[in-house]
Symmetry: C2
Subunit: 342 residues, 2 copies
């Protein structure tokens, strides 16, 4: 029996559990823990975990892979708690929205034979919590993978395989890149959405504005419903990048304001609007490129690969070969295949 | 045979036609016209109109209700073209995104016995054009109704009934209010969405940003895919309001920037984020209030009411009464009911 631990069973942890259960990996135990006992019980009832652990350390004990899906403000404490319990060669990942601090903490707190590979599923929902958990939450979405400097190749591919297994697309970046890019495509949008909803709802005309607000207003303010804890954590842990992109946005908005105001620049305004529209259309039609694994490992599915990681790759390749031989009506050789090198 | 004319058969005109056909009004002819003949043919094929007219004037001729669903930049010309063809007592409405200019043009160009009641369905889609037309486009959405000063009560309720018939919610406002409110909840969001997509896509890191952009970025930049013609028309015809709300937004964004930057104001930042979240949650759960018709007319459905408008109310009430009597097995009286007063 191999074990994956999920610590924190909210929308992300719960959805990850459901997605892993749906992938139907043989001989896998999902141990889960949430500081809120009701959440833990609910996760087990929903089938997001197999076993409710007594503590974060209890969940991580003997887990080959531990996923920490708690708010970043609790992440350091969880790393401290699980550090003594982690087995040799364990891989630890997380799901926090910013990465600079997490990578530093992991480096400081985790023992050397443990590999930390940060993770950030770019997925969410208007509603949070275990009851909003959804096995399909990550399907087709990006999942940033941020290896710490000490992380082994084996640990990185374990996390990549986990990501592929739940239908997401791994994008490997370093922590500084991650925090800067996410400030642009996630944290800035969050603040724009929040400021827009704040402006409209604080207006004396709010009842009239609300009655005339359509789907466009609803969509653009969706991120304003992000939990204030998460939004605040993002502002706190990614302050410089957020301020940088806020300033660049204010500048871009001033550029558009100038074009709207100046009657003599209407052709320029039209061209700017047309460029944005066509660029976005191209962006929508661009198919995400899946990361290519090495040719040696390509024969295995994501499910086989995560089992390979959990059980030792040899056993899986051997099992696969035996099955294929049985299907062909042949007898397996005693030697088995040579173990692949990555 | 009563006639409704739809001039302009893009997403809005086409969807309106489909929604009216779906409402299954007896003895109603939908005449349609689009300057692009291919669009007109396609609309007839899709069942959005019954008859393709040869011109805007041809469509409006003998139509009790004419809906102009063309870009605002063509609206004045259409009003000029149809003015001589409109029958006495005709009601004209439109679907443009701004109203100040439209109301002035209608006042100037339409003959006195014609009532103009402006309209603006707050509904749209990422894709435009007749092929994106959808009978359900307006369901549950707001539809601003902007009566001109000369519009009769009868004309206003005809437009309200049209709106109810396609499943939308009529919100009566004057042109100045409309343009100011829409600047806040629609035109400002359009420019924020556009500026955000512009900023991200002009960045040298755009390939990386695109690969990490999730559903949140897609949703918040959806309005950036608005056709540049429509966006530009909005900027041109609602410039002062757009500039006003752009400035108020810039101020609100600066307020949030200050809270993010100042380490001593984190509690204030958290409170601001929490207030926005809870206000938006309340907004999402607030059920739209349907406008109440007078008690005398409440007995009729929206379909019956639009027929009442088109055919003369008496005939409908009489038909309804006869049907009820037939169901009860009684014979109708020779007099019929007294015609209701509004």
């Amino acid at each position: 029996m191999a074990r994956i631990a999920i610590i924190g069973l909210g929308l992300i942890g719960g959805s990850l559990g459901l997605a892993l259960k749906r992938a139907n990996i043989a001989n896998l135990e999902l141990a889960g823990y949430d500081a809120d006992r009701r959440t833990g019980g609910r996760a087990r009832k929903l089938g997001a975990i197999d076993r409710e652990a007594r503590s974060a350390a209890d969940a991580a004990e003997s887990a080959a892979l531990t996923v920490i899906a708690v708010p970043i403000s609790h992440l350091r404490t969880v790393l401290e708690e699980i550090a003594p319990a982690l087995p040799e060669g364990a891989v630890v990942t997380d799901t926090a929205s910013t990465k600079r601090d997490v990578i530093v903490w992991a480096d400081e707190l985790l023992p050397a034979p443990v590999s930390f590979v940060g993770g950030h599923p770019i997925a969410g929902k208007e509603q949070g919590g275990i009851d909003a958990a959804d096995a399909a939450l990550f399907e087709g979405q990006a999942w940033a993978v941020i290896p710490s400097v000490r992380a082994s190749e084996r640990a990185i591919s374990a996390v990549e395989n986990l990501v592929a297994l739940v239908g997401a697309r791994a994008v490997i970046v370093d922590a500084a890149e991650h925090d800067s890019y996410l400030a642009a495509v996630s944290h800035l949008p969050l603040l724009l959405s929040t400021a827009l909803f704040s402006l409209a709802s604080r207006s004396s005309a709010w009842p009239e504005l609300a009655s005339l607000a359509g789907r466009g207003f609803r969509d653009i303010t969706r991120l304003a419903s992000t939990s204030p804890e998460l939004s605040h954590d993002i502002c706190l842990t990614n302050r410089e990048n957020v301020l940088h992109w806020l300033d660049r946005f204010a500048e871009e908005l001033r550029r558009f304001r100038g074009l709207v105001e100046d009657g003599a620049r209407q052709e320029e305004l039209f061209k700017a609007l047309a460029t944005v529209q066509s660029t976005r259309d191209a962006f929508l039609h661009q198919l995400p490129v899946r990361p290519q694994a090495g040719s040696d490992i390509e024969m295995l599915s994501a499910g086989e690969r995560i089992t390979a990681f959990l059980m030792g790759e040899f056993a899986v390749r051997r099992t696969k070969e035996i099955q294929e031989l049985i299907e062909k009506g042949e007898r397996p050789s005693a030697e088995g295949p040579r173990r692949g090198e990555r």
